[in-house]
């Protein structure tokens, strides 16, 4: 048996795929428009950095959290109890973060996924959905152990290059890197995206923190259009209701510190 035979057997029950090309095109157009809108927000964020006099540590200009930065050396995954305790601290921060922008619609405190090859959890996530005008904003945190990181990104994801290089082909917008105390690195970047099911997700903004031990915390913000028939994204509603680079970076650092501190005996 060749590997190809195995693959052919796996796709033998392929369900029908109904994809509207015009819907794909419309989603692309909306992503392009929203990317422009979000670019405006990012410019405003950079302007805020200049006004507040915050400086960056390394690399291209990048907003730096104003408070003293904690040292993030590791995001432990030592036991189910510790993972749950750390994740609950992160979830509390996420809820508080979302509350600055809108009313909570739904929260998922803990999603746990098995590790590589079905082993213990190496990746957990927590998410909140909040009102954003007629739409929804999502804040999600995914925390992963070093083994998960190695499986997902392999050797291409180095402290120097990070997601900016990993996604080289599908170029990320505004990818910026900041060195944190103790060897951790923080990147912020955006991706245009679209999801099926619940509706289009035309833009996503990320803050990815890699601790010194190669564990990773990824905080993402995204917008989902309202569920009412014919509802469309209101770009103006993003202003002031969406976290920019600074806020996402600060929240990611705070979440990583909370995870780490909750793991201490």
């Amino acid at each position: 048996m060749e590997t190809r035979d195995l693959f052919e057997r796996l796709i033998a029950d392929e369900p029908p795929f109904v994809l509207s090309t015009s819907a794909v095109r419309a989603r692309g157009e909306r992503a392009a428009r929203l990317r422009l809108a979000y670019r405006g927000l990012a410019v405003a964020a950079v302007a805020a950095v200049v006004v507040t006099g915050v400086v960056h540590v390394h690399g291209p200009r990048h907003p730096q959290p104003a408070a003293p930065l904690p040292t993030i050396s590791a995001l432990p995954f030592s036991s189910p109890a510790q993972i749950a305790a750390s994740n609950s601290k992160v979830y509390a921060l996420l809820r508080a973060g979302a509350a600055k922008y809108g009313s909570l619609i739904k929260g998922v405190p803990l999603e746990e996924q098995g590790g590589v090859g079905g082993g213990p959890a190496t990746l957990v996530s927590a998410s909140v959905q909040y009102t954003l005008g007629r739409n929804s904003g999502f804040l999600s945190v995914v925390t992963s152990a070093p083994a998960e990181y190695a499986s997902s990104y392999g050797s291409s994801f180095t402290p120097a290059a990070g997601p900016c290089a990993y996604q080289g082909g599908a170029k990320l917008a505004q990818c910026r890197r900041t060195l944190l105390p103790g060897g951790a690195v923080l990147w912020t970047y955006s991706q245009s995206a679209a999801a099926g099911g619940g509706g289009p997700v035309p833009i996503e903004r990320f803050a990815l923190l890699r601790a010194a031990d190669d564990s990773v915390l990824t905080l993402s913000f995204s917008v989902q259009s309202g569920s009412a028939p014919g509802a469309s994204l209101s770009y103006r509603s993003l202003s002031g209701a969406a976290p920019g680079d600074i806020e996402l970076g600060q929240l990611a650092v705070a979440a990583a510190a909370a995870w780490q501190n909750a793991a201490k005996p």
Partner: protein
């Protein structure tokens, strides 16, 4: 995007999205996820169409986005979930076959995702070692070792099946 570009983009979507979905499915192991991955990838492709169109290999570029989206999909969490109203019935006659596929799927899931992506690119999409490395952002040596380790993991997960010993690089 110009009208001619849009027509070309739509033609590409019609022609290639089923194959892209199969690739995404083999990497992420779920048809719904695969569909989301392809929709995401096509949106990204739309945004990049002006740049990509002028060079050869739109297909390779699309495959690259799909594979990377599929590798990233696990990190997106709950909001990608898609509830269904009812669990579909399965024909009894197809149960054995379906059970076989479940076992094969579980075996493939036991292979770390990056190794799985290498196997899919090399042995399903017939992509060269060099191109696989470019898609995943890793060296050719890493592709070969990931393919070899991936096949080892498959053999361990499916000891009753023998894989062609010529494969592995």
């Amino acid at each position: 995007m110009r009208r001619t570009d849009q027509a070309e983009f739509e033609a590409f979507v019609s022609a290639r999205s089923p194959a892209l979905r199969r690739t995404a499915f083999l990497v992420c192991g779920d048809w719904h996820q695969a569909e989301d991955v392809v929709q995401n990838a096509l949106t990204k492709l739309y945004l990049a169409w002006g740049r990509v169109e002028r060079r050869d290999g739109v297909d390779a570029y699309a495959r690259q986005i799909v594979v990377r989206c599929a590798l990233d999909e696990r990190r997106r969490g709950w909001r990608r979930e898609r509830p269904v109203d009812a669990v579909p019935d399965r024909a009894t006659a197809a149960a054995d076959e379906s059970g076989d596929r479940e076992a094969l799927l579980a075996a493939l899931a036991a292979v770390p995702r990056r190794q799985r992506a290498v196997l899919v690119l090399r042995y399903w999409d017939d992509v060269s070692v060099a191109e696989t490395g470019r898609v995943l952002g890793i060296s050719e040596g890493s592709v070969k070792s990931a393919a070899s380790r991936g096949l080892d993991n498959l053999r361990r997960a499916l000891p009753e099946l023998t894989f062609d010993s010529r494969e592995g690089g």
